[in-house]
């Protein structure tokens, strides 16, 4: 009996694959099961293969595996695309009565269940519900109570009226009853439910939720896959908290609007993906020079240029670390799990305001489009602390008078012991001042005087040093602390690495794993690297961008495992590749 069930629905884009998958995932979460979803999608709206996969277990699941137990195939292509993942006894649900599906060949190892999805859907009230019929059919295969599906259907269709909900319920029941009546299936896949209640969300949503919790009030963005969900999440929600979302005409505008709002005193943010970061780069320098706090999320996809917009990659690190002309102090935070997207977003706002710098929050496509279950307590909104850093003015810690020079000029760029000067929000009496992208003196006026230039560059860099001293810019660690092999990674690979550990252990290989959420300023990894016999850096890119950075930091060579097919690592694959590396070195 498989406690771990791998389920998928595939068809053409526009078939409602996503919403069907999500209904199932939500039903499972309601039933107290952990869920980890993944999507295969192409960059087109109608037509083109698309699939939504759900992995579920009573225990936590944090990655995808190359196996499918139940596959709902709405098109023949779905079977072709997933043939290699079908195992002995996998069940394939399809509508053998549809003309396009009449000649499909079900792979030998699996069991094909032809269910008249279309007919049953029409019976329930409309062909459009064939996905829901299929859901019911799949529920029968895995012995999953339809009541949970009902709940999820209400959540999905509740706003569309009772009739729609009733029809969908009927569709699910017809699918279930058909399978029960026609097939004598061995319920090898029967899935256990528990009393737990989980929330289900993706990385973009976790960023959006973190932003509101952190007091973000202004968001400006331009749609781009896979960052758009951040904007869509905030739209219609941030208003309830006194904020607003602006869809700008392009990324240049988006980041400049966000900068304007931040300059006016709002907690402000934008989110984009690689191509948008390129466009924003000039303004990143302006943000740094004017010492304006801003959070910029980069949800990476595959590049260069338009690359593969709907595919996974972690190829922007160099851009985030070094992008921009001149020298720009910045933070680069990289959550390694969906839940951590929330934490690092909250932190990003505090760091941005504490140090008055641009803060990049870097996530990736796999994290953005994946939905995962968590205990709701994992998102502890009540413990969020908002630290606005040094602000001058009534009600804030600093007084305007203390930061005003003899001539009556407020000093927004005063040189201080920690590199951080107080800022004053527009509207503050007697603190009117300008900021500029030109090099400036302490009051914000243009200067080319050598000493003032040096003071300001030093001051800006100094903030990074201060952060290194004051902040806990550490790594996360798991595995065997005494292992010879050290694996270092960032971003969404953490889940696959965690799940590869038992396999590695069974093959006699112990590893110590560090995942690094702070990429700039970053923790010093020389201790763990010296202690290990070999270090392997795992990342979704071709050149090993984190590996390069680490080598530069510790002056020691590290090994690399990269993937740039556009598809995330799976646990099995990672285990194989780590074993391969270790064996190579041993040989």
């Amino acid at each position: 009996m498989a406690s771990d069930l791998n389920w998928a629905i595939g068809g053409e884009a526009g078939d409602g694959i996503d919403s069907t998958g999500k209904i199932f995932a939500q039903a499972l979460a309601r039933a107290g099961r952990h869920v980890f979803t993944s999507k295969d999608f192409a960059s087109r709206i109608r037509g083109g293969y698309t699939a939504y996969k759900v992995r579920t277990s009573v225990d936590r699941v944090e990655s995808v595996v190359d196996r499918l137990d139940v596959l709902i195939a709405l098109t023949e292509r779905t079977i072709e695309e997933n043939r290699d993942e079908l195992v002995d006894g996998s069940v394939v649900i399809y509508d053998g009565e549809r003309t396009s599906m009449q000649d499909v060949e079900i792979p030998d190892q699996s069991i094909g269940l032809s269910v008249p999805l279309q007919d049953l859907a029409e019976q329930a009230g409309g062909a459009i519900m064939r996905n829901v019929v299929a859901l019911g059919a799949a529920a029968a295969v895995v012995d999953f109570p339809v009541d949970y599906l009902d709940e999820a259907l209400v959540k999905r269709f509740g706003t569309k009226g009772e009739a729609i909900v009733a029809n969908n319920r009927e569709a699910a029941r017809l699918g279930r009853d058909y399978v029960r009546g026609e097939f004598d299936i061995d319920t090898d896949y029967a899935i256990e439910t528990t009393d737990a209640d989980y929330v289900l969300l993706n990385g973009d949503e976790a960023i959006g939720m973190g932003a509101i919790a952190a007091g973000c009030r202004f968001y400006a963005g331009y749609p781009i896959t896979p960052a758009t969900d951040v904007m869509q999440y905030l739209t219609g929600r941030i208003e309830d908290f006194g904020g607003t979302v602006v869809q700008a005409e392009d990324e240049l505008s988006a980041i400049n609007m966000a900068l304007g709002a931040a300059r006016a005193g709002a907690r402000s943010m934008t989110a984009t993906s690689g191509p948008g970061i390129d466009l924003m780069t000039e303004t990143i320098g302006l943000i740094a020079t004017t010492e304006t706090p801003l959070v910029i999320a980069d949800v990476m996809r595959s590049g260069p240029s338009t690359g593969m917009p709907t595919k996974q990659e972690q190829g922007d690190l160099n851009q985030l670390l070094y992008g921009g002309h001149g020298e720009i102090p910045r933070f680069v935070l990289a959550p390694t799990t969906i839940a951590e997207c929330f934490d690092r977003t909250v932190e990003a706002f505090n760091l941005a305001e504490r140090y008055q710098v641009p803060v990049f929050l870097v996530s990736d496509l796999s994290m953005a489009v994946t939905e995962q279950t968590f205990p709701p307590e994992r998102f502890d909104v009540d413990s969020v602390e908002i630290d606005r850093g040094k602000v001058a003015g009534p009600g804030y810690e600093e007084s305007v008078a203390d930061w005003t020079d003899a001539d009556g000029h407020f000093q927004p760029h005063a040189v201080t012991d920690d590199g951080i000067s107080p800022r004053a929000f527009p509207g503050t009496v007697d603190a009117a001042h300008m900021t500029t992208g030109l090099e400036h003196d302490e009051r914000g006026h243009r200067t080319e005087a050598e000493d003032e230039r040096v003071d300001q560059v030093d001051k800006r860099q100094h903030k990074v040093e201060t952060a290194r001293e004051r902040e806990d810019l550490s790594w996360r660690e798991f595995g065997d602390p005494d292992a010879d092999t050290l694996v270092v990674s960032w971003g969404s690979n953490e889940g696959a690495i965690r799940e590869a550990l038992p396999e590695l252990e069974s093959r006699g290989i112990d590893v110590r794993v560090l995942t690094v959420p702070y990429l700039y300023p970053r923790p010093d990894l020389s201790g763990p690297i010296e202690a290990a016999e070999r270090t392997v850096v795992v990342e979704c890119n071709a050149t090993g961008q984190l590996a390069d950075v680490i080598e530069g930091d510790v002056l020691e060579e590290v090994d690399r495992i990269g993937k740039y097919t556009g598809v995330r690592f799976t646990a099995d694959e990672l285990a194989d590749r780590i074993v391969e590396r270790v064996m190579e070195v041993r040989a």
């Binding site: 929330v199 607003t244 966000a258 709002a261 302006l286």
Partner: protein, 287 residues
């Protein structure tokens, strides 16, 4: 807002480094005068400037201000106003800044109609980079980068503004100081995006569109029977290639500013010490 502000309150202690005689002096003085007359004070005024000779204005004025990157002043101004409705926001720039590198933002700022004023110092040339043609340069205008003329029709800023849905479209001449201040003041007071294209001659690089030229050619709409609320009539004047009109060409008195609908009622800078009240329900939504 105090009604006692004087235009000198908006002057900084920095001496402009513009060439003596540059049109930008008059443009800026008129802007300060207009601000003072509306009762704004430096503490609740925010000036955004782009890059160019024109963009230096932030240094010479006294208020909250930002001098940004080339062409992006308008979005910055929109962000400021969206975050703090209590601020008087004024954006200034050059014709290169606004109609070339930033033309996309110009079009969308007109559509978005945020309540602020946008003043363009149109000298029909690139001043700061020393005399290349600009989007408003004439077709036969010879410069270092157009030895045989630009061979392109110039952008007509007011026509562009009209086509993009501008709700206040005006033109003025920096040298007619009193009239210029009046027009800018009207732009500030307009409920929405107040756009003023200012003929602001470059005495160093443009020997065609000079003070003399403008003095001889401008026609003040105030001296005609022009009704700015009549869009059709406004359009006729805007597309008339032979006349340099000054005054308010078009004004939509029923315009509803974007920020009035989508902006907050109060400044966004006041925050609690923890997550905003009710934020815990965000988690529950994911059940």
């Amino acid at each position: 807002m105090s009604s006692e502000t004087h235009f000198t309150d908006f002057k900084s202690d920095k001496q402009p480094t513009w060439c003596p005689g540059c049109g930008d002096f008059g443009t800026m003085n008129g802007m300060m005068k207009a601000l003072a007359e509306t009762g704004a004070s430096p503490d609740d005024t925010f000036i955004v400037a782009g890059i160019g000779c024109s963009g230096k204005i932030g240094t010479y004025t006294h208020s909250y201000a930002i001098h940004g990157v080339h062409g992006r002043a308008l979005p910055v101004g929109i962000g400021v106003k969206m975050a703090n409705p209590d601020l008087e926001v004024m954006v200034a720039g050059g014709d290169g800044d606004g109609y070339s590198i930033g033309v996309g933002h110009f079009v969308h700022a007109l559509r978005r109609n945020v309540d602020m004023a946008y003043v363009v110092m149109d000298n029909r040339i690139y001043g700061l980079t020393k005399g290349q043609f600009s989007p408003t340069s004439r077709e036969d205008f010879e410069t270092a980068t157009s030895p045989e003329g630009t061979n392109m029709a110039p952008v007509n800023p007011t026509a562009l503004a009209m086509a993009a849905g501008g709700t206040f479209i005006a033109q003025s001449f920096s040298s007619h100081s009193q009239r210029h201040a009046e027009i800018v003041k009207e732009a500030i007071e307009h409920d929405g995006f107040g756009f003023v294209n200012v003929y602001s001659p470059c005495v160093t690089f443009n020997d065609v569109d000079t003070y003399d030229y403008f003095r001889d050619s401008v026609v003040d709409l105030a001296d005609t029977d022009h009704d700015p609320t009549n869009a059709e009539r406004a359009n006729d004047r805007i597309v008339d290639p032979d006349t340099e009109y000054i005054g308010v060409l078009y004004r939509d008195d029923d315009s509803v500013p974007y920020d009035a609908v989508r902006g907050p009622d109060q400044p966004m800078n006041d925050l609690p010490e923890g997550a905003p009240e009710g934020a815990d329900r965000l988690v529950k939504e994911f059940y």
